[in-house]
């Protein structure tokens, strides 16, 4: 395992794959007070919020492109940096657990409804840990390879659904006002742990980061909008009865003699989950390794994997626990703190420190 660098293309492709998982595993419970058609408008708000919260991270990067939020915080004050590190590690841990938990809920309810899936959790987490062990570069490269498979598959599924789309299934936009739509956009941004990943990974990325970020933001938003368009126009209100609407959507898709294509979306799901969980486990181990624990990264990865397994075993035993933990408020707080609050703090205090330094020099 080395300290590796990825190109902006590879890095943002990895984030695209990671975010695609969140889109594909969209839970219909999130549409409690929002109509599916509103989800078509929501991306506009997403882009705006997503761009705004990344400003502090970008300014830090612009000022010092070899150091990330964590290393700058550490250079300023070791006391402050410790809670910051804990915050990032916890956020990544939480999202790893949620990624595996969703996969587990999906497997337990859709793929193998009558099976105890605890071994599946172990199997999945161990494989993701193996991906993390192989490193940032290997994950980045496999993300690009995955994207080569995932994107055409999604396009293909959507193409097969075009004939089934019925605009009469749409609902009026802003039927319940603008606020629920904005709230959903915030929810959606909150589910995007990738903003936090960007905050700690930018020094490991080479190339045009600004362009990469905007292409990533727009592409994942477009993908989301297209998927919601098809979910709304094909399934209409049926979508709200399904736990995983996009999985059901793919089961409605048909091509030639194949009456359902849900197996394909299952494959996409697992591939994306592997990349996302692998990346998050790697980041946890990497942050812990370079911040305070001088333990080999390999051991930290194993440790992280074991804790993830334990957490998932606890959550997966009851659906109510999953529903409790998979809370959008927690996600919004964690993403907001790691992507915006901490970088903003580091930016402000970093500058103050610089001013003091300049005064001393004078």
């Amino acid at each position: 395992m080395q300290n590796e660098k990825l190109s902006a293309f590879q890095f943002f492709t990895m984030l695209f794959i990671s975010r695609t998982l969140t889109t594909v595993t969209y839970l219909s419970s999130y549409t409690k007070d929002i109509r599916l058609s509103d989800m078509l408008v929501q991306p506009i708000f997403r882009i705006i919020i997503g761009t705004l919260i990344m400003i502090p991270v970008y300014l830090i990067y612009k000022k010092q492109n070899t150091a990330d939020v964590l290393s700058i915080a550490r250079s300023k004050s070791k006391i402050i940096s410790t809670p910051i590190v804990i915050c990032y590690v916890f956020t990544f841990f939480y999202f790893t657990v949620m990624t595996v938990a969703r996969l587990d809920v999906f497997a337990g309810t859709v793929v193998f409804p009558e099976t105890d899936v605890k071994f599946m959790i172990i199997f999945a987490v161990l494989l993701c840990a193996y991906g993390a062990y192989l490193g940032f570069e290997a994950l980045g490269r496999s993300a690009v390879l995955s994207a080569i498979l995932v994107v055409p598959v999604l396009v293909f599924i959507m193409a097969t659904l075009t004939k089934k789309a019925d605009l009469l299934n749409l609902t009026p936009v802003f039927y319940n006002g603008v606020m629920p739509v904005i709230k959903t956009a915030v929810d959606s941004v909150g589910q995007t742990v990738e903003y936090g990943i960007i905050a700690v990974c930018l020094p490991k990325v080479s190339g045009n980061i600004k362009k990469g970020f905007f292409v990533w933001l727009i592409l994942q938003t477009v993908l989301m909008a297209i998927m919601f368009f098809f979910a709304a126009t094909v399934m209409g209100n049926f979508a709200s009865t399904q736990l995983f609407p996009f999985h059901t959507l793919s089961s409605i898709a048909e091509f030639s003699i194949f009456d359902r294509l849900d197996a394909i979306i299952t494959s996409v799901w697992i591939l994306c989950a592997f990349i996302k969980a692998g990346l998050l486990i790697y980041l946890q181990a990497d942050i812990l390794h370079r911040t305070f624990i001088k333990i080999k990264k390999e051991y930290l990865i194993v440790g992280t994997a074991i804790v993830t397994i334990i957490a998932n075993l606890i959550i997966s035993s009851e659906f109510s626990r999953f529903a409790f933990v998979d809370n959008s408020v927690i996600k919004i707080i964690l993403t907001g703190v790691t992507a915006f609050v901490i970088p903003l703090g580091v930016l402000i205090f970093g500058r103050k420190g610089q001013v003091k330094k300049c005064e001393k020099q004078q």
């Binding site: 009469l168 609902t171 399934m235 209409g236 009456d259």
Partner: protein
């Protein structure tokens, strides 16, 4: 190498420990492949479920067309819920039912008139059921449809589904799949339409016949429309890609049109506070047949006359169908309430409770634009 071995061992344990018992239980050999499900409600409030399954133990039979068709076996079981009733087949056959290959769900008259909500839930909840399965209503009981025999062989659910698809292609029935049905269920009006099946006896042989489209109002069966009338229901719903229309033209000649393309544009505007639906039906059609038309040269005038009488005929049929739907059956099977809901949500919200009367009193401006593409005759002088 040691690390790789450890990883391998852990993986093997994880994989093997996972669901060893499942292999035998869920293996394809242990599954009872269901082709069709029919549900009837008994007087004592219990359900009778008729299952049409593929008999894997029997040798494949050859159908009349010469194509190999799987042998069919039917089961008729009763119980309190659909789930437990179907499950009880396992006790008879020793195999676990496999719903994913099910082609059709047929609902008996007793169900469609009373308990639609109760029986549909199982099919939505169970993950193995396909969301795109066809739902049909039986004129009488569902079991008589699935147990109908054409000579020695059962009429297969697959052939019923094929028949429904063929009729749907010709716009002669209003095909509804499970996800569409549930979508309507969860919408405001809860009105929909299903293909209607009946057992017919012709020449001493029984068979399953698709007799038309069952119209539902607020999840209850109201009446059924004939296949010929359903064509115009489909015109209203913008669901016609192909259709056959016959009408009496000039000089009492019977004329048939083969519709090759159709697009219904539906617009909403308000006149004097009343919703006005502008329905513009654009049809492309070929002349398929004119009684006594052989060897007659067709002039441009003749064509115009045919076009005018066809447009008049289609207009009349569409208007009558619309009246039947909104005035007699009070059903929004063709989706105009939804159009109102999308385009004027505030109006819909205000009138949600008395939407049936609103739709009845609304203005419908129907405009037919027929283009005759081909005459299908070599004696032609008009161009």
């Amino acid at each position: 190498m040691r690390k790789a071995t450890v990883v391998l061992v852990v993986l093997i344990i994880a994989v093997f420990g996972f669901n060893e018992k499942e292999i035998y239980k869920k293996d394809i050999r242990n599954r009872l492949v269901i082709q069709g499900i029919g549900i009837d409600l008994e007087k004592d409030d219990s359900y009778t479920v008729t299952l049409q399954t593929i008999d894997t133990n029997a040798q494949s039979a050859t159908s009349a067309e010469g194509a190999s068709q799987p042998p069919i076996k039917t089961y008729k079981v009763s119980g309190d819920t659909i789930y437990t009733t179907i499950k009880s087949v396992t006790e008879i056959e020793g195999k676990i039912p496999l719903y994913s290959q099910n082609r059709i769900i047929i609902l008996g008259k007793s169900i469609t008139e009373e308990k639609m909500d109760d029986v549909i839930d199982f099919f939505v909840r169970d993950v193995e059921n396909s969301a795109s399965i066809y739902i049909a209503a039986a004129e009488n009981s569902a079991s008589e449809i699935l147990e109908a025999k054409n000579g020695e062989e059962y009429v297969s659910a697959r052939s019923i589904e094929t028949g429904i698809k063929a009729c749907e292609y010709d716009a002669r029935i209003f095909g509804t799949q499970l996800y569409e049905l549930i979508s309507r269920y969860n919408s405001g009006s809860k009105d929909f339409a299903l293909p209607m099946l009946s057992v017919a006896e012709k020449g001493g042989k029984t068979g399953v016949e698709i007799i038309g489209t069952a119209i539902f109002n607020n999840t209850r069966f109201r009446e059924y429309m004939s296949k010929d009338d359903t064509v115009y229901l489909n015109f209203l719903s913008d669901k016609v890609y192909n259709a056959a229309i016959s009408f009496i033209g000039q000089n009492d000649k019977k004329i048939s049109l083969n519709v090759v393309d159709s697009k219904t544009e539906r617009k909403l505007k308000f006149e004097n506070g009343k919703p006005t639906f502008k329905i513009n039906v654009k049809i492309k059609a070929d002349i398929a047949e004119i009684n006594g038309g052989v060897s007659q040269t067709m002039t441009k005038e003749d064509m115009e006359k045919i076009k005018a009488s066809a447009e008049q005929y289609i207009y009349k049929q569409i208007t009558e169908t619309r009246k039947l739907l909104y005035e007699q059956y009070e059903s929004d099977a063709c989706g105009y309430v939804r159009l109102l809901y999308i385009l004027k949500p505030s109006f819909y919200r205000e009138n949600e409770k008395n939407i049936d009367s609103v739709m009845r009193d609304s203005i419908y401006e129907v405009d037919i634009d027929l283009k005759i593409r081909r005459v299908g005759h070599e004696f032609i002088e008009m161009f």
